[in-house]
Symmetry: C2
Subunit: 256 residues, 2 copies
């Protein structure tokens, strides 16, 4: 089903792996389930991305920094970045404990945004880490942004960008819900344009500087990336090659 040569990009939502309402608190049970699923059925070439959850978002909100509002305050930059370093370190530790050769990649060190917001994220370090058998673990972060100091780069945007840049047809967005839900609470099977689902997509319940479900869908569509949005219950199915939850496809694809 899955080409073993291709790279799988999997984003673990910050709201999945942290207790989003409690500052800097892991959801150990959920993170453990994700790690177990990966340890059981790990793609040969895997890039993990995780969001900020209660580590990054609170600091970003406190300092008034978002994906479009920057800061030139170095202390604000490091407050957000260090919180994400703590979360990333915990994720990497849990993965290594399960024999997954995880190593961290910090966007602040490698990614840049131009004055118009255009993102540059050189994929070479990740590609070379994959070639050496490592599992790069990237996180939502604060990155330099021309004329604005530094802004937030969300895990969703990273997953979409890396999915587009690396040779992959398997992008998974593991979320705190089983997919994109319609107004009856049912999972929408497929989304090809934001307009068709705009009515049912609200903002997320808690502090999320990176836009909630509408933002996820918009980011994936804008990056012209096909992805599955699903919940933790179906992570194993995704890793086994299925397309659980909602498939976001920006264009009609052959064979679909």
């Amino acid at each position: 089903m899955t080409d073993p040569e291709s790279t799988v990009v999997l984003k673990l939502g910050g709201s999945v792996i942290t207790e989003k309402d409690q500052p800097e608190t892991l959801d150990e049970a959920a993170l453990g389930r994700a790690v177990d699923a990966l340890a059981t059925d790990r793609p040969e070439r895997l890039v993990l991305v995780h969001g900020g959850g209660s580590f990054g978002h609170h600091h970003a909100s406190e300092h008034g920094v978002s994906t479009t509002v920057g800061t030139t305050d170095a202390a604000a930059v490091t407050a957000i970045h260090d919180a994400m370093t703590r979360l990333n370190r915990a994720v990497v530790e849990r993965l290594q404990a399960a024999e997954i050769p995880a190593v961290p990649i910090r966007p602040l060190s490698v990614a840049t945004r131009g004055a118009d917001g255009t993102l540059t994220f050189p994929p070479e370090p990740i590609q070379q880490l994959l070639a050496e058998g490592f599992v790069p673990v990237v996180h939502g972060d604060v990155v330099v942004h021309a004329d604005m100091g530094a802004t937030i780069l969300s895990g969703d945007t990273i997953a979409a960008r890396l999915g587009a840049q690396l040779d992959t047809d398997r992008i998974g967005i593991c979320s705190s819900v089983p997919g994109v839900l319609d107004d009856t609470g049912a999972v929408i099977d497929r989304i090809t344009t934001l307009e068709t689902v705009a009515d049912v997509l609200g903002a997320s319940d808690t502090t999320d500087v990176s836009g909630g479900m509408a933002g996820k869908v918009d980011t994936l569509l804008a990056a012209k990336v096909t992805a599955s949005i699903f919940g933790l219950d179906t992570l194993a199915a995704f890793l086994a090659g299925e397309r659980p939850g909602t498939t976001v496809r920006p264009l009609p694809l052959e064979g679909s």
Copy 2:
């Protein structure tokens, strides 16, 4: 004397800012002196690089990793990297406390080595951070190395590479000695080839996976970078535009 538009690259030796014989111990007094000098006379565009000292080197030795011997053990990679993250965080904190807008750059996230050891270190994030008024603080690290897993990238090599890539004529290597010493203990004023000083350059006294003084000189000469190697006592003089200690110049330059 100094072009205010040019970038100054300053490397603070690991043996300067840490107690090199005591694992993961800062030399607070020395780091404080360096920070004071920078706070007093900070170049407008400044890139700081620091070595590993007792944070990075012990972990590298323990895991048998050097600039030429790699590891594919993810736990070894993160043991070295995390130690350097702790040192880097301490340095960034001290700088920020002195109103210097320091932000971290981690080589593992951005730099790569080819199978022949050729280093690629994209300077764009650093250039853009400089343009936004930040002071990037880079550290010696472990980086991915084709066909070898990951190897050590020394602070000296980083300083030489960034010095060559950024628009700068001021590269300082602040060391634990006042310069390169001849066999009478006097500071050698100028070095243009490694051969002329090979006899007097030994290895450093304590564990240094990145080659000691001979390695510093060789790295600077090989990168075709002109630099000053000096001690902490003359850091203020260097920042004021002087050329204290030993000037390493790979080729005869005009006006020299």
